[in-house]
Symmetry: C2
Subunit: 333 residues, 2 copies
Amino acid sequence: MKKLINDPADVVKEGLQGIAAAHADRVRVMTDPNVIVRADAPVQGKVGLVSGGGSGHEPMHGGFVGMGMLDAACPGEVFTSPTPDQMLAATKAVDGGAGVLHIVKNYTGDVLNFEMAADLARDEKIEVEAVVIDDDVAVQDSLYTAGRRGVGTTVLAEKICGAAAEQRRSLAEVAGLCRKVNANGRSMGMALTSCIVPAAGNPTFELGPAEMEIGIGIHGEPGRERRQMAPAREVVEMLATPIVEDLPFRSGDRVLAFVNSMGGTPLIELYVLYNDLRKFLAARGIEPVRTLIGPYITSLEMQGCSITLLKLDEELTALWDAPVDTPGLRWGA
Amino acid sequence: MKKLINDPADVVKEGLQGIAAAHADRVRVMTDPNVIVRADAPVQGKVGLVSGGGSGHEPMHGGFVGMGMLDAACPGEVFTSPTPDQMLAATKAVDGGAGVLHIVKNYTGDVLNFEMAADLARDEKIEVEAVVIDDDVAVQDSLYTAGRRGVGTTVLAEKICGAAAEQRRSLAEVAGLCRKVNANGRSMGMALTSCIVPAAGNPTFELGPAEMEIGIGIHGEPGRERRQMAPAREVVEMLATPIVEDLPFRSGDRVLAFVNSMGGTPLIELYVLYNDLRKFLAARGIEPVRTLIGPYITSLEMQGCSITLLKLDEELTALWDAPVDTPGLRWGA
């Protein structure tokens, strides 16, 4: 296992110490239990936004804590749900009196633990709403999921809801907006290689030297099919066709096009993919008016990509464009 | 070769088309010869900043074109110097009457071609200065270099000089500042795996399953030594010790600490490395007051990292903090 780590058991802890030290101007890291919190939390009168999930998907979620996005993130062990006590601690740390929204990716462990944490927080008189993101069109149920998995749309929901919370919209409004983002976002991913979970030390799955997995999950869960390697333009077709057909996206739609690296794919390949994606969309009359291209929801060093399309309207576009100041996403601030 | 590309011969061209389409608000792409230009170039009365080099290091340089950083970037073929006609076209496109600075990484082809382009531009009455970045402490001469290689400090020089140019400082001042950044920046890198140049189809070099290369160049050029895998804290010592001793950095120095992924190393590992680096620095009384952590000067999908330290003073710190609005680096704008 070739990794730039010390003891595999310490990767999450030491990564958090690194984040805390590198970004002390924007975040602080609580330990026991582990929570990354916005430095100025709780912001009085603002809805608090909490997300979380297994580690290994950085910058999601810890890199998205800061002004205009999350108030706290709960990092679990690698590819393992955080615990309810982390989520409760996060909820209490960010409650500024306007309630707290939990943005939850649809994996069985995450959903159950966030439900438990919400109940515990309500016992302490904190108003909590939860929205489950389930945007992955690849498979209906999967290894860790009842229903669809939550993937790339989560990043977009965190940004957009974060901007709405900064405007001091109510918990009901921010939660409604989160459901709207989820309803209008669709994703699908693929892998060229597996990643290696540090504690396991071996690849999560095996792929032949000329094979790729279409519809992969962000923990290496099986996708729709294993295929022979194909050119980028065919990979884009394999991912974007089910995405577009599912919503469906229609001619005249304006979208945010998000081309994401699974962690090990270089940026130049993401631009090659985007070049094919914009042609694919143009042929269908769909206009990408905003883009996000880079590694934002990753699977350690896995090579591969995912595509997310979010149908935009004026409200979502304005919230996307609003200032954000986090370690992983930053503009206008 | 597992890559998300179409024809290997078209990677650079299609990547540029992707960049042009994704970031049309900030850049335009000229072809024949290939140049990425700031959308509003030339900016009248502002020194124009031009850099360039082989492709495969993205986001450097094309991703750093925009307000507060470069005015143009010349992308060569993968790991191949751009040509003088690209550099001349870029220089002419960004000349706003205040002269043009060429920021050149120290590789033989780049240096010769930028010299030729500067001569041609001067023939056309454009004032040109060039600064060569040679910050890599790993080796004195190497496969493509007389003297030290130019690596991570280039990113910092482009940001800092870009901010100074926005303040309408003169060509002599911006060039002097670039020399100052180079004089105060030191870097060293390492690799866990090779990358594969698309046109070659095979790994640039071979590393055993438990080996790493210390002092690697960004094209996979040999480094100082091949060693057995070691924990992150030891890797940090191997890189940071020669960096600190070279300048030398001293107790009381305030630095920008830049932990860079070679392309295939996940972000969580960079934070583990940064955690060890800050301890290394603390033990020597060196204070990291700014950080940059992520994939900024890469070698395709190579796994590995580099560390750059830049000694800061008030002037450099303020210019680093100034607004920047490029596809690859963006804040405060």
